[in-house]
């Protein structure tokens, strides 16, 4: 069965979505990712969606679900590289993904995760990134 690979980088997990997401794939990713976080004790998850060109409401909801699940398992999530078209679609669908941290590039995402993990507590949302 088709799966999206989850890579481990030290304390963090890296997920790169490079194929069109369909519902089944999204569900599998959700399961795999939560399992992996629990197994490895990862403190941060980065989801790179720069190659994703199409989203629907299901995928949008899945992103915020993954983020909430990771938070319960004590890992920060950051979604990086969203395309303009995808952002517009999500907004038009009424999904503002409140509570999901975003970053423009992988580099900025890593910087955010490092900062968030070292400062511990304080969950930062709504685009207020540290500098």
């Amino acid at each position: 069965m088709e799966r999206i690979p989850i890579l481990r980088m030290g304390n963090f997990l890296l997920v790169t979505i490079q194929v069109d997401m369909h519902d089944r794939l999204a569900m599998t990713l959700q399961e795999d990712l939560t399992k992996k976080i629990a197994e490895t004790g990862a403190r941060g998850v980065m989801i790179d969606i720069s190659a994703l060109e199409m989203v629907d409401s299901f995928i949008g909801r899945m992103m915020s679900h993954i983020s909430s699940m990771a938070r319960i398992l004590d890992a920060k999530t950051v979604v990086v590289g969203m395309q303009p078209a995808v952002a517009i679609t999500l907004v038009e669908l009424g999904l503002s993904l409140k509570g999901v941290q975003t970053a423009l590039t992988v580099e900025k995402g890593v910087r955010y995760l490092e900062q968030a993990v070292t400062t511990g507590g304080g969950r930062r949302t709504n685009g207020r990134r540290p500098h």
Binding site: V80, Q83, L90, S96, T102, L104, T105, G127, R129, H131
Partner: protein
Amino acid sequence: MPVTTLGLGEVLRKHRESILADWSRDLAGALSRHKDLLRDSELRAQCHDFLDQLSKAMSSGEAAGIQGPEWAGMRELLGKISSSRAIQGFTPAETATFVFSFKKPFFARLRQEYGQDGDGLFREIWSAGQVLDELGLYTTEVFQKARESVIGRQQREMLELSTPVVKLFDKILALPLIGTLDSARTQMVMETLLKEIVATGSEIAILDITGVPTVDTVVAQHLIKTVTAARLMGAECIISGIRPQIAQTIVHLGISLTDVVTKATLADAIQVALERVGLAVAEANGRA
């Protein structure tokens, strides 16, 4: 009593030259205001073509309205004439006059042919009148369409001019909005802003609404959408240039801007933006 059985087409052909002479003289008089726009020779050529098409269509004996295939050539000709008139700045009345002024010389020749045959004359004038009226209305219709396309083009050009995304500093973009925000414009603003965010890798975008005359629920909704989309991509938006009246309207309308950073002036917004990217402005000689 000269009774003729000539049809409209034949009358036209027989008196072609004299009709043409009378008609173009009348037309030149009616359009004298636009002598600089329309040369006599050009007008004469248009009259010529019109007569050719008219006699061709009328000889075919089809009087069932100008939508038939016999009138295709005529429709094309009138379409060309009307749209060029619209672009040159003629009024719709002046454009339609081109067709309607044809009645006078044509009906005069018909009368000459039919003489005392009142019934025949009436019949022919009626059917010719009907056709010419339809043609006249057709020119107005085309004229209108040509005008509308001019307006549409201007609107599109304005849309393009009205959404400049400015790079203020490294990682800081600004978008001065001027004029009323409607859905089409917001869509454009959103798209250009998001594209520019990706292209420049900016973290902060300042939406300056000093030039937006009124903010109602729709405009606010559009602004919030833009801010949310930018956030989804990983950039933060600051809305600046909110005038006191607009602040009052926003609160009265019950619009919540709590998730958005808002500032009264662009200067304040720039200050915040610089802070966010970790920069500060200092005096040149070191005295703070």
